[in-house]
């Protein structure tokens, strides 16, 4: 588990975590959950949880991480971004490029070493190029793969590329005072443009084939998928814990006050002397980077990424999770993402039993989306606070917004 970050401040102050018991509780729950899964998993424990389910759980943790990022940008700052799954996908692509390059390099090197004459570096590079880009009728490495051979640089790309994209796009959008529904549509357009670009064969990222074989981690060929999946599960849990603490820190205190002020009345915050655009840009970019990190952890567990994952619909689903979970509270986003994505895979995976109606049989694989859509409408209409709102009522903490400023 992450070390508990503490804020040392004025004398006699309580630590950040002590001031925010809900963060404490969340971290505790996450730690218990991780421990439980570890004890029951195939690689490390009783084997009651299959490796594929460990992967599902690990992926769900990543989705929870991107959901809290979405919650911060939407629930706290009021920017309904329909582009955060695009940042998630970019993170996946960035790490996927290294995974695919390094893995292909091993294969190519092995096969070339079998020949009598040892290969030159150029031959190895050419071989990798043919392997990776043969599927789109090319063998040349596009410029964007320039750093693919370096794990460290490509990790940097996970942060830099979405960070810069969010910075530039956010600067353009916020500067021209595009707000509300307009901004949502603009972010949706950005997402669509990105996914359409990636769908092209000459985008340099294998068009609609995407990147595949990402579950094979170079350097860990001898380690079984059981162990790799539990490793990623742990990494995802740590990332979620750290992300939760980071965002809890951001949305508490004065920063949280300003950000929520922007959500409720942007002009007023401006007349108080705050440069609203900088704050929006800060939140937008920070959440984009966290979304990308979540994606970089998600896709090695998923094994494949393609442009369809970036399409606007994915980002809209992200908003759906956060809304169902309950906006404006971080644990709400976690609950929403975990609940909806797990229930969704239960229904679409054929886990839910069909319903016999005499003349018609409801097959949930067909009807799940109808149910989801309608329940989403119901949540918006009747439970605007989402599942988290019910949770709040249980623990009698009706105003999470006022939390932390006693």
């Amino acid at each position: 588990m992450p070390s508990l970050s503490t804020q040392t401040s004025g004398a006699g102050r309580k630590t950040f975590l002590a001031q925010h018991p809900s963060v404490m509780w969340f971290l505790l729950a996450l730690a218990l959950f991780t421990l439980g899964v570890t004890v029951l998993a195939e690689a490390t424990g009783a084997g009651l949880i299959s490796t594929s389910f460990v992967k599902t759980l690990g992926k769900t943790l990543c989705l929870c991480l991107v959901a809290i990022a979405m919650d911060v940008v939407w629930g706290y700052c009021g920017i309904l971004s329909l582009g955060h799954m695009a940042f998630f996908g970019i993170g996946g692509y960035a790490i996927g490029m290294w995974l695919m390059y390094a893995r292909t390099e091993i294969i190519v090197r092995d096969s070339l070493l079998a020949a009598p004459i040892p290969p030159t570096p150029q031959e190895i590079t050419d071989g990798i190029g043919t392997q990776i880009f043969g599927v789109v009728g090319s063998a040349e490495f596009p410029l964007i793969w320039a750093f693919a051979d370096s794990f460290a640089l490509q990790l940097l790309m996970v942060i830099l590329v979405p960070g810069l994209l969010a910075l530039v796009f956010g600067w353009l959008a916020f500067r021209s005072r595009v707000t509300g529904v307009y901004l949502s549509i603009l972010t949706q357009a950005m997402t669509l443009a990105l996914s359409l670009y990636l769908f092209q064969n000459d985008s340099g990222l294998r068009g609609n084939n995407g990147l595949s074989g990402l579950q094979n981690i170079p350097g860990f060929e001898t380690v079984s998928q059981d162990a790799i999946s539990i490793g990623f599960f742990w990494a995802s849990a740590v990332a979620l814990g750290l992300g939760y603490v980071l965002f809890a820190f951001v949305v508490s205190g004065k920063m949280g006050s300003v950000v929520r002020g922007i959500r409720d009345n942007e002009a007023r915050v401006r007349f108080l002397g705050y440069h609203v655009e900088s704050y929006k840009l800060f939140v937008f970019t920070l959440t984009a980077i966290v979304a990308a990190i979540a994606g970089a952890l998600y896709y090695p567990q998923a094994g494949i990424i393609n442009p369809a994952e970036i399409a606007p619909i994915a980002s809209i689903y992200l908003a759906v999770w956060v809304a169902i979970g309950g906006r404006g509270r971080l644990y709400g986003a976690v609950i929403g993402a975990a609940f909806v994505s797990l229930v969704s895979s239960w229904f679409t995976g054929g886990g839910a039993p069909d319903v016999e109606l005499g003349i018609y049989t409801i097959k949930w694989t067909d009807w799940w989306l109808v149910l989801l859509g309608l329940s989403f409408v119901a949540v918006t209409l009747f439970f605007p606070q989402g599942i988290g709102g019910l949770f709040d009522r249980l623990v009698r903490n009706p105003t999470p917004d006022a939390e932390g400023q006693k």
Partner: protein, 650 residues
């Protein structure tokens, strides 16, 4: 004019009259004179038979040639006569007398087929063309002209010109003359006649003429030590875009003017063949992972005479510099290629101009589709500040309504007339229901409306999949909407697109009338500009919102029928248009019909323009368009037609 027709008629009658000299001879007797040639024709010698037959002017010649070409001519060895085979009954063949047409039978064993091979049949076809070109059946004459156009050859020029003289149908006559001119331009022996024909086509847009000129201007690449004495089209510089260095050198190698390159792969192979004791030419294998050591090892092999010498970059440059690379016209006559080039340039200018017009038409029709798809969205957004994410699904509902109506009303025209108002009614109802049940409760929370309507959108889309399946359903347009209005070979527009354009105009007018001339429109405009004030003046905003939403949705239904007519109806038909519709509204500016029109016009022409610049890649076109829109918003955040002052609500 009358005289010309009369003259043509006289010629026609003369051509049909049998030659009195040969009138007594029957076709059978004529065939008997060349019995062996008819039975076993060869390409080289069949010409004589064909000439005799054609010169005889007998009425049955054309029929015989056609049957012969189709391998239906048989020789009965019992009486030594030729017959047409018309069918078989067990071991007997049904025959027909060549001259009288009388039916008879003969056992198969007694018959020998005449089996003209492919070459012979081509000759027969050539002979047939003259009959068909001036035969009585206009369809056959047309077919013959088209056959010549498909496979132009030098020898039919005169024939075509003669038959054009006699052609009674003015349209076909013009077509024949034109084709004859094309043939003259390509094949005439006299270069002055060719040049005259070529320059005569100046400004013509049709594809066949452009193809003909391009054939005259066909080039082949060549290389020589010095500039050859040929009709040179262009001298190429190695290393330019038209002739990369590698291609130039390959050309040299192919012409045996330079030794072939040794590729890295060949080097590697040669090295692999010469491994001895873990080394090649004394260089250990492990070192051969370095490119320069490989070269060294190869050079050592060359010195030992075990490999062909390498071609270095200097050798290559030297060889390239020592030769002239050129494109030469296959046509040797400079005057003709010059004329063809000038004419082609002329034509291409005209083509570019017309393509511009065609592009504008395309953009206009795309814009009308976007306008239809977006105007409902714009109205609801303008009046209620609500973005309806399910708008695309209303388009889908409209399209499926059209499809369902066609299942019950088989007449396509009638079904369209039924489908349009029905689609409006269905989506109007759906819109009103949605407004009453969902949106009404979410006013002043626009982002939540966006998400709630998105929930409806996924539910409706999946519902459509469950009902209609995932495969595309056809919405067939009536026959009178098939085809296209062809202005010339470049500019044309399909009738469906014209119909959609008209529909868009109709709705533009209708909406303007409703908004500007009716009480409802007045109230809608009042609510758009200041809902609080409108409410205090006795306007019931609830009713206005409901009606507006219904109207916006109803127009989406109409748009759905229109779009379904030319795109396949699937559950995703709406989502294909929804983002463009959003863009149209955003670019155009909220709450203004003219803004939507301007937005649709801009997005439509932008998309077509970018597609034209980069025709191979519509995905890239859409990407660039969206990027452009994001930048556009920078300069006009409120759209093209923006409300100003306090009404803008900021």
């Amino acid at each position: 004019m009358l005289r010309a027709v009369l003259a043509a008629l006289v010629c026609y009658v003369l051509a049909l009259a049998p030659n009195p000299l040969l009138a007594q001879t029957s076709l059978q007797s004529l065939l008997q004179t060349q019995k062996d040639e008819v039975l076993k024709p060869s390409r080289a010698s069949v010409g004589a038979v064909l000439d005799t037959l054609v010169a005889s002017n007998l009425p049955g010649v054309q029929d015989f040639l056609e049957k012969w070409q189709e391998r239906q001519v048989v020789l009965n060895t019992e009486d030594g006569l030729f017959y047409f085979a018309t069918g078989a009954q067990g071991d007997t063949l049904l025959l027909q007398d060549i001259d009288s047409g009388a039916s008879l039978q003969a056992p198969k064993s007694a018959l020998t087929d005449s089996r003209p091979n492919g070459g012979v049949r081509k000759e027969i076809a050539g002979a047939l063309v003259r009959f068909q070109l001036s035969g009585p059946d206009i369809e056959k004459r047309r077919a013959a002209v088209e056959a010549i156009a498909r496979a132009p050859s030098a020898d039919v020029v005169g024939l075509l010109q003669a038959s054009a003289q006699a052609e009674p149908d003015p349209a076909l006559k013009a077509q024949k003359q034109r084709l004859a001119q094309i043939l003259v331009a390509r094949f005439a022996p006299d270069s002055a006649a060719r040049i005259a024909a070529i320059t005569g086509f100046s400004g013509a847009l049709s594809l066949d003429i452009r193809a003909m000129l391009n054939q005259i201007l066909e080039t082949r690449p060549g290389v020589a030590p010095a500039r050859p004495n040929a009709n040179i089209a262009e001298i190429l510089q190695p290393g330019s875009d038209a002739l990369p260095i590698a291609a130039a050198y390959e050309q040299l190698v192919a012409a045996d003017l330079a030794p072939p390159m040794i590729s890295p792969a060949q080097i590697k192979e040669t090295l692999a063949q010469n491994i001895s004791a873990g080394a090649v030419a004394g260089i250990p294998l492990a070192q051969l992972a370095q490119p320069d050591r490989r070269i060294a090892a190869y050079q050592a092999l060359v010195a030992q005479g075990k490999a062909a010498p390498l071609v270095g970059p200097e050798d290559m440059t030297k060889a390239l510099n020592a030769h002239v690379f050129y494109l030469a016209y296959i046509e040797p006559d400079r005057a003709i290629t010059d004329a063809a080039r000038a004419t082609l340039q002329d034509i291409e200018t005209a083509v570019a101009f017309n393509k511009g017009a065609d592009l504008a038409l395309d953009a206009l029709s795309l814009a009308s589709i976007y306008f239809l798809a977006a105007i409902g969205l714009a109205i609801t957004f303008g009046v209620m500040g609500v973005i309806n994410m399910a708008h695309g699904e209303f388009i889908m509902i409209g399209a499926y309504t059209g499809y369902v109506v066609q299942q019950f009303v088989p007449d396509y025209t009638l079904s369209l007339i039924v489908a349009l108002p029905l689609a409006f009614a269905v989506t109007f109802g759906a819109g009103v229901a949605m407004e009453r049940l969902v949106i009404r409760w979410l006013y002043h929370r626009p982002l939540e409306t966006l998400l709630a309507t998105f929930g409806i959108s996924i539910a409706l889309q999946q519902l459509a999949k469950n009902i209609f399946g995932t495969q595309a359903r056809p919405l067939t347009s009536p026959a009178w909407l098939d085809g296209a209005w062809v202005i010339n070979d470049v500019v044309q527009i399909s009738y469906i697109r014209i119909a959609i354009f008209v529909l868009a105009l109709l709705f533009l007018g209708l909406i303007l009338v409703v908004l500007k001339r009716t009480r409802l429109g007045l109230e809608v405009r009042a609510v758009t500009q200041n809902p609080g004030m409108a409410a205090s003046m006795g306007i019931n905003p609830d009713r206005i919102n409901m009606l507006t939403f219904g109207l916006g949705s109803g127009i989406a239904g109409i748009a759905g029928v229109a779009i379904g007519l030319y795109a396949k109806v699937t559950s995703e038909i709406g989502s294909d248009y929804i983002v463009q519709s959003f863009m149209t509204v955003v670019v155009g500016g909220v709450g203004n019909v003219w803004g939507t029109l301007a937005g649709a016009g801009m997005i439509g022409s932008l998309q077509k323009g970018i597609e034209w610049l980069n025709p191979s890649n519509t995905l890239a076109a859409q990407t660039y368009m969206i990027l452009f829109i994001i930048l556009f918003i920078q300069f006009r955040p409120k759209g093209i037609v923006a409300l100003k002052g306090r009404a803008a609500g900021d």
